[in-house]
């Protein structure tokens, strides 16, 4: 894949633009009062992260990220939001001091993470292989080295599905009266 070679501040322009979009949308998710807008901004964030995967030569991951996150998980979130009929007015109020404390805590975490990780790039052997992110290569690894985790994740999915159905099931009338009697 051919890349633009335009550099701004010594960085490729596509990385800068995508990072800008990603961070802006992520900030919009957490600061917006309307949950529906938050979901839409989060979908936008996932799209830009998928674009990051593409410039990192992880093509299959980019598509799976779009299908699973933007396509399945966020649609689930949207459905639940519309089911619960949430809007700006139902948004719980947060105290000002709590917001300041959250900002300081997140800023401190950022400083600690950046300071502890900024040397780690020296230890990365830069050895990109052509086609490492394609389905053929990933499938080979998934069904040989990672076969047991793959099967286990299937069981996890089954358990999550049963749990979600059980939790989401509305209690029938005689069941709920039974509960009230025992309570």
């Amino acid at each position: 894949m051919q890349y633009l070679s335009v550099l701004i501040f010594g960085l490729p322009v596509e990385f800068l633009v995508l990072s800008f979009i990603t961070i802006l949308c992520a900030l919009y998710v957490v600061t917006n009062k309307n949950p529906i807008h938050s979901v839409l901004a989060l979908i936008m964030t996932f799209f830009s992260i998928s674009a990051h995967y593409i410039i990192l030569n992880a093509q299959f991951l980019a598509i799976v990220n779009l299908i699973v996150y933007a396509g399945a998980i966020m649609v689930l979130f949207l459905f639940v939001l519309m089911l619960l009929n949430l809007n700006k007015d139902s948004e719980p109020q947060v105290k000002m001091g709590w917001q300041v404390a959250a900002t300081i805590a997140a800023g401190l975490l950022l400083v600690v993470l950046a300071a502890s990780l900024h040397k780690s790039s020296e230890y990365v052997s830069r050895n990109p292989v052509e086609g490492v992110g394609l389905v053929k290569n990933l499938g080979k690894y998934l069904f040989s080295e990672f076969l047991v985790p793959f099967e286990l994740s299937g069981i996890l999915f089954l358990a999550a599905m049963v749990g979600a159905v059980f939790l989401g099931k509305r209690k029938t009338d005689d069941e709920s009266t039974e509960m009230e009697e025992t309570a």
Binding site: I49, F77, A114, S121, P128
Partner: protein, 108 residues
Amino acid sequence: MKPDSIFNSLDISHYIYLSCVLFCIGMFGVLMRRNAIVLLMCIELMLNAVNLLFAAFSSYMGDASGQLFVFFIMVVAAAEAAVGLAILVMVYRNTKSTDVGLLNNLKG
């Protein structure tokens, strides 16, 4: 590896910084918001920051294991979202609100 590949013009440290920023934004949201559904979304954001870092390291080192880890994180995220939203719907049925501040019965 082509000479104009992004791996030559961009150091991995920039991806590390980007992931750190995304993770901290997610944590900021978890600390600041009290709407349970936004909390779940912030957790997804943090998981995605980790995914991005896994993919960046995997691509720079030419090792597919990192990208497979991302798949497993996606599986866990999907399962977590499904169960979390089911719990959320149940909580909403009982309290008519998604405010996590109301769920303080275990405080003692």
